[in-house]
């Protein structure tokens, strides 16, 4: 009898937890779709962190926690607070990497962190973080030429880099076009896999073509 109870418990708790994880993540991701305010991104970052801590071995929660923090960093005004939050996000991206997260996706997110860093103080940091971002994304692209986020960010970065410094519209446009194409044709896959960037890329392409 006792044995049966234990088996029953462990069985159901196992399936329940796998089920739970997917449900909890999907729940948060649905909220992320709709999130707009600093408070919403803050709360979501904490929710993803809770899932990450409870699960211990999953990288997606950390990925999204860092993602939320970076979005938040762009919304804040104070330079020090922004830098602190980017520090935290970078630490979390590293953690997601240690848990075996997708290298391309994490590079794209790290590139986002560099962009955030740059935007805190463009006058001072553009010289350093512009090339750093390009280098990271070029590496990520070499590993996986099909990641639309990598293509989009690389294109975006080149678009905002003066032609003389290795950037410019000419180099940027084909990348963004390719990104939009890959966004549109990307197969439906793992519901937890990162999927952001499509709208941004589409509107960037429209603007850049003007």
């Amino acid at each position: 009898m006792k044995k049966l109870i234990i088996i029953l418990i462990s069985l159901s708790s196992f399936s329940l937890s796998a089920q739970n994880y997917l449900t909890a993540m999907s729940d948060c991701l649905a909220q992320l779709e709709k999130a707009e305010t600093i408070q919403e991104y803050t709360d979501l970052a904490l929710a993803f962190e809770r899932i990450g801590i409870a699960e211990k071995t999953k990288w997606h929660p950390y990925y999204y926690q860092a993602f939320c923090l970076l979005v938040k960093s762009f919304m804040l005004k104070d330079a020090d607070s922004r830098d602190n939050i980017i520090d935290a996000a970078e630490g979390i991206i590293k953690k997601a990497g240690e848990l075996g997260g997708d290298k391309g996706e994490l590079s794209a997110l790290q590139a986002r962190a560099f962009q955030a860093r740059l935007s805190v103080d463009p006058g001072t940091r553009a010289m350093q973080y512009g090339p750093k971002t390009t280098m990271l994304l070029a590496e990520a692209r070499a590993q996986n030429p099909n990641n639309p986020r990598v293509l989009f960010l690389l294109g975006q970065n080149l678009l905002f880099t003066p032609a003389g410094f290795g950037g410019g519209k000419e180099k940027a446009l084909p990348l963004i076009e390719q990104a939009v194409e890959k966004f549109n044709t990307a197969p439906v896959q793992d519901p937890l896999a990162p999927s952001w960037g499509r709208e941004e890329a589409t509107s960037l392409l429209a603007n850049a073509k003007k």
């Binding site: 109870i5 809770r50 409870a54 104070d78 602190n84 103080d121 006058g123 032609a163 003389g164 410094f165």
Partner: protein, 720 residues
């Protein structure tokens, strides 16, 4: 039975809903807002409110832990027992700052940091290029408080100290000759291009036990890491040419640079205060090698050679009709090898080897002097965190210097002297973080110098207290030793290390790209080198009976936020100093000290013309000079010094390559600046001493340069 079983499972799995409430504070009992509260191993959680309080409705049974996480703090766990009661109060839970937060701790007393990486820094590397009009490291740092303007030298004079009291370090290694050699009346320039460095720590006092052999100031320059692209740079300026090529491989980069500088076309065109025979000319070459030796490790090799010459007619104060014929040739070589490695995220190791060679040949009419200075240095440091409270850093250092001086006037004087000194040093420094507001740094440095056979122990202590996240109050005390200048040391092994004590109090407020800081200091000098009259080469007349003090207040305000695209800062230094040293026969204000120094730096990015404009205004009150006709020593003062300099960097393109047009000019308003006077040795028949004003080499220095960067056409690794 089955119902019972299902019920049991249900209870065990879901438990019953209980409410857990509590409050989270930091170590100072201040509420922590927005901390993440969760039931361990579940997704259930909540967030603390403005009061630090939380209420969490959760379902579980038996014992569970709650976990509290908060940015910059250690995750904290607390055991909860879901007893019969459906309400549970944890009381107040205190959380502790994490080690990463402690890593960011800097003590602001005495230190001006400039870096890309750190926040709230006072200057960034670009500032050095866009401040003043000369793109010179020393000139840019001269706009910071705590420095005195000494126009005829062009070097850093810090808080009443002479130029030799500031020591320059590159990647931790000594740079023995940071300035171009020059002759009296022609200011030096820094040898190192500001573009070499990604970080600068300029300490105006109270610096770490890691640095020795400097009485007043340590200037710590850190070069760039691995280059981030392959490119070629060419620069054409009104005073010369330079070209460099940099290549990047996977984990290695190499840059080679050649430059030629010749002031003759310029001096022919622009009216000079100096009667040049052959103006300043310089050939130089550099090589910079970088290798990433591991994830966090880097090896840096930097080599530099240069040759400089100049010749001029030096106004002869004793016989104005016959100017002196003065010429100078300098050969210089520098090799700096350093590495840094982080092992298992615990140990940080750093070290290096360097070689300095400097040869000056100076001819004054028929007298010539040759000085050869060679220094070899080796250094190794290790540091690590110990728990959350301590960081320990310890290191050893050795240098050997050989210094030779030959003087020959082709009549009665023909000296050939040299000395060699071996210097051994060791230091240990402990950073203690009592809590997230109070930190201390305690260091001890030991040095032993062979030639003079003297061991020295210097203690350094700094304390910082953070009133809130924006405000820091800090204080520092330190003992500093420095060997007498080589030109004295060579004539007497009976000299001892000169000594200074620093006492510093600092207040710094930083918020959102605005910085305000005030620093008061007192410096006590002892054992300064003295000699009688002009006879520094007579050992019996050299001694260490000199002494002095310097006290003052430095104020700095910088604002990069209020006005869009505008960045400005204001520095003010008040200095009260007197000393009795060198050939002084009484205590007096030294001639390099001015009581008031002001700098106002204004920079604006002008989008319409893709240009950055920089304007710098500098003021220094009059400096002392000694009029032999006056009964008092050094009691006369020059008129105050004023300068308004401007520079414009315009971003443009040349054949599709990025280019910068740089235009600058000093003393736009044409102030008449006089740095001091030289007097004749004896009075004329009317009993007056003839005098000659020491002036800038020209009223203005204007500079135009065009720099193009050729990048490898993108057809590279980013294509798959």
């Amino acid at each position: 039975m089955l119902i019972y079983l299902t019920a049991a499972i249900h209870t065990l799995l879901a438990g019953q809903k209980i409410s857990i409430s509590g409050r989270v504070t930091d170590e100072f009992n201040e509420p922590v807002i927005g901390a993440n509260i969760m039931i361990k191993d579940t997704y259930q959680g909540t967030t603390t409110d403005l009061d630090g309080s939380f209420i969490l409705l959760a379902s579980f049974s038996g014992e569970k832990k709650i976990v509290i996480t908060y940015l910059g703090y250690e995750p904290t766990e607390k055991l909860i027992e879901a007893g019969t009661d459906s309400q549970h109060n944890t009381g107040t839970i205190k959380i502790k700052p994490s080690a990463t937060q402690l890593e960011g701790v800097t003590i602001t007393a005495g230190a001006f940091e400039a870096s890309d990486e750190k926040r709230g820094t006072i200057l960034n590397p670009l500032d050095i290029v866009t401040t003043g009009a000369t793109a010179d490291v020393a000139a840019a740092l001269n706009t910071l408080p705590g420095t005195q303007k000494v126009g005829e030298e062009g070097k850093l004079f810090v808080r009443g100290g002479a130029a030799y009291e500031t020591r320059t370090f590159i990647d931790g290694m000594v740079a023995q000759n940071p300035y171009n050699s020059s002759v009296a009346g022609v200011p030096s320039r820094g040898r190192y291009s500001p573009f070499l460095f990604s970080g600068t720590m300029f300490s105006t006092g109270g610096y770490s036990a890691e640095y020795g052999q400097a009485l007043s100031s340590a200037l710590v320059l850190n070069t760039h890491g691995l280059a981030n692209k392959t490119q070629t740079d060419v620069g054409v300026t009104t005073v010369g040419l330079d070209a460099s090529h940099q290549k990047l491989w996977k984990n290695t980069s190499l840059a080679v640079t050649g430059n030629y500088m010749d002031l003759s076309p310029y001096t022919a065109l622009i009216n000079q205060n100096i009667d040049w025979i052959s103006p300043f000319r310089n050939y130089g070459a550099q090589g910079i090698y970088r290798k990433k030796i591991s994830e966090n490790g880097i090896l840096k090799i930097h080599g530099d050679v240069s040759s400089t010459s100049l010749r001029l007619k030096y106004p002869n104060v004793n016989n104005p009709a016959v100017p002196n014929d003065v010429s100078m040739r300098n050969n210089y070589a520098y090799l700096n090898t350093s590495f840094k490695e982080i092992i298992k995220d615990i140990w940080t190791l750093a070290g290096g080897l360097s070689y300095n060679y400097n040869h000056d040949y100076v001819k004054f009419d028929s007298t010539y002097q040759r000085i050869t200075d060679q220094l070899v240095q080796a250094r190794f440091n290790a540091s690590r965190f110990v728990g959350n409270m301590f960081k320990i850093k310890t290191g050893v250092e050795y240098f050997s210097q050989v210094y030779q001086e030959k003087v020959d006037n082709q009549q009665d004087i023909n000296r050939n002297t040299q000395y060699q000194i071996h210097n051994y040093a060791a230091f240990t420094e402990l950073d203690i973080v009592f809590n997230s507001r109070l930190y201390a740094r305690i260091g001890e440095r030991f040095e032993y110098s062979s030639y003079i056979n003297e061991p020295t122990f210097s203690s350094r202590v700094s304390l910082a207290y953070r009133l809130n996240s924006n405000t820091q109050v800090s204080g520092s005390f330190g003992q500093f030793y420095q060997l007498p200048e080589s030109r004295f040391l060579i004539y007497s092994p009976n000299l001892v290390n000169e000594n200074a004590l620093h006492y510093i109090l600092n207040y710094q407020y930083t918020k959102n790209q605005r910085i305000f800081r005030v620093e008061g200091y007192y410096k006590d000098y002892n054992r300064l080198t003295k000699y009688d009259g002009d006879y520094r080469y007579q050992p019996q007349l050299l001694n260490n009976s000199g002494y002095g003090y310097a006290k003052g207040v430095d104020v700095y305000f910088r604002d990069r936020k209020t006005f869009k695209d505008i960045d400005y800062w204001i520095s003010y230094s008040f200095l009260d100093t007197r000393r009795n040293f060198r050939n002084f026969h009484q205590e007096a204000v030294p001639n390099f000290a001015s009581m008031h120094n002001v700098s106002i730096v204004y920079k604006q990015w002008i989008d319409q013309i893709d240009s950055q404009l920089g304007v710098t205004y500098s003021f220094a009150s009059g400096r002392p000079y000694n009029d032999p006709a006056s009964e008092q020593f050094n009691d006369k003062r020059t008129l105050s010094y004023n300068d308004l300099s401007a520079n414009l960097s315009h971003l443009t393109e040349l054949w599709g390559h990025s280019a910068i047009l740089f235009i600058s000019c000093t003393n736009i308003l044409g102030f008449e600046n006089i740095f001091g006077y030289r007097f004749s040795e004896s009075p004329d028949d009317a009993g007056n001493f003839n005098r000659i004003a020491i002036e800038p080499t020209a009223k203005r220095f204007a500079f135009v340069g065009f720099f193009v960067t050729f990048e490898q056409k993108k057809n590279n690794s980013s294509q798959h």
